[in-house]
C-alpha cells in the first residue's frame, strides 16, 4: 500500500463528510491534496435555494481534513491517541466554489509542538486561482 493511501485509510471520516480524494504529496513540512465537490452533495439543495455554491464552512472542513488531519496522521503515524479536535481557524474567502469543481489544498506546517498542529493552508481551483486561505490548528487529546 502506498504511504498516501495508508493515510487516507486512517482518516476518521466517511461519506457524506469525507472531503479528501487524493494526496499528491506529503512530508514533514506539509501536504497537498485534492477533492472534487460532487454536485449530488446534499448541502447544495439548501445553499443556496436554486443557486448551489459550496458553503464556506465546507471549504474550511476540506482544508482541515487535507491540511491538518492528513498531515497530523503522517506526523504521528506510530503513536496511539484516542481523539483529535479542531481548535481554531482564521480563513479568508476569495472566490466561490461551484458543484463539480476540483480543488487543490496546499498546507504548510507552521509548527507541531505539544500535540498542537498549526498550518498555513491555501485552496486553489482548477484554474489555479486561490479560492480561500488561512491558518488552521488542531490538537491531539491523549
Amino acid at each position: 500500500m502506498k504511504e498516501t493511501d495508508l493515510i487516507l485509510s486512517k482518516l476518521p471520516y466517511q461519506k457524506p463528510f469525507l472531503f479528501v480524494d487524493e494526496l499528491l504529496q506529503i512530508d514533514e513540512d506539509g501536504v497537498t491534496g485534492t477533492f472534487t465537490f460532487d454536485e449530488k452533495l446534499e448541502f447544495y439543495t439548501g445553499h443556496f435555494k436554486d443557486n448551489p455554491i459550496t458553503p464556506g464552512v465546507i471549504l474550511i472542513e476540506t482544508m482541515a481534513q487535507i491540511g491538518l488531519v492528513c498531515l497530523g496522521i503522517y506526523l504521528t503515524f506510530d503513536e496511539n491517541f484516542s481523539k483529535i479536535a479542531f481548535s481554531s481557524s482564521e480563513v479568508e474567502f476569495l472566490k466561490p466554489v461551484y458543484p463539480n469543481e476540483k480543488v487543490t489544498v496546499i498546507s504548510e506546517k507552521v509548527y507541531f509542538r505539544f500535540g498542537k498542529l498549526k498550518c498555513k493552508v491555501r485552496m486553489l481551483n482548477s484554474q489555479n486561482e486561490e479560492v480561500c486561505n488561512g491558518t488552521l490548528s488542531g490538537i491531539i487529546i491523549k
Binding site: S87, F114, G115, K116, I139
Partner: protein, 84 residues
C-alpha cells in the same frame, strides 16, 4: 532579569490570548491561565512558544504540562534562564 521584569514580559506574552481583562489587570503569582485568564487550552501552546521566543529558552514537554499558572511558569522560566 529579576522576577518583576519576567512578570512584565510574561504579561506582554499572554495579553493577546486572554479573555478576562479584569483578571489580567489584577494578575498575580496565583493567577491561573485557564481558570482566571480564560485562555483557550489549545492557545496555551502558543503562549509557551511565545515564551520560548521572548526569553530565548526551550521548554520541554514535562515543563509545559506544569505551566498552568503564573507561579509555576515563573519558576520554569527562571530555571531555564539560569541554565543558559
Amino acid at each position: 532579569m529579576n522576577k518583576l521584569e519576567i512578570i512584565d514580559q510574561l504579561k506582554t506574552v499572554v495579553k493577546p490570548y486572554i479573555k478576562n481583562q479584569e483578571a489580567f489587570d489584577n494578575l498575580s503569582e496565583t493567577t491561573d491561565f485557564i481558570n482566571d485568564l480564560k485562555i483557550n487550552s489549545a492557545n496555551l501552546v502558543d503562549v509557551i512558544l511565545d515564551i520560548e521566543e521572548v526569553f530565548d529558552i526551550v521548554i520541554d514537554n514535562a515543563s509545559m504540562e506544569k505551566m498552568l499558572d503564573v507561579k509555576s511558569t515563573l519558576a520554569i522560566i527562571e530555571t531555564k534562564l539560569a541554565e543558559k
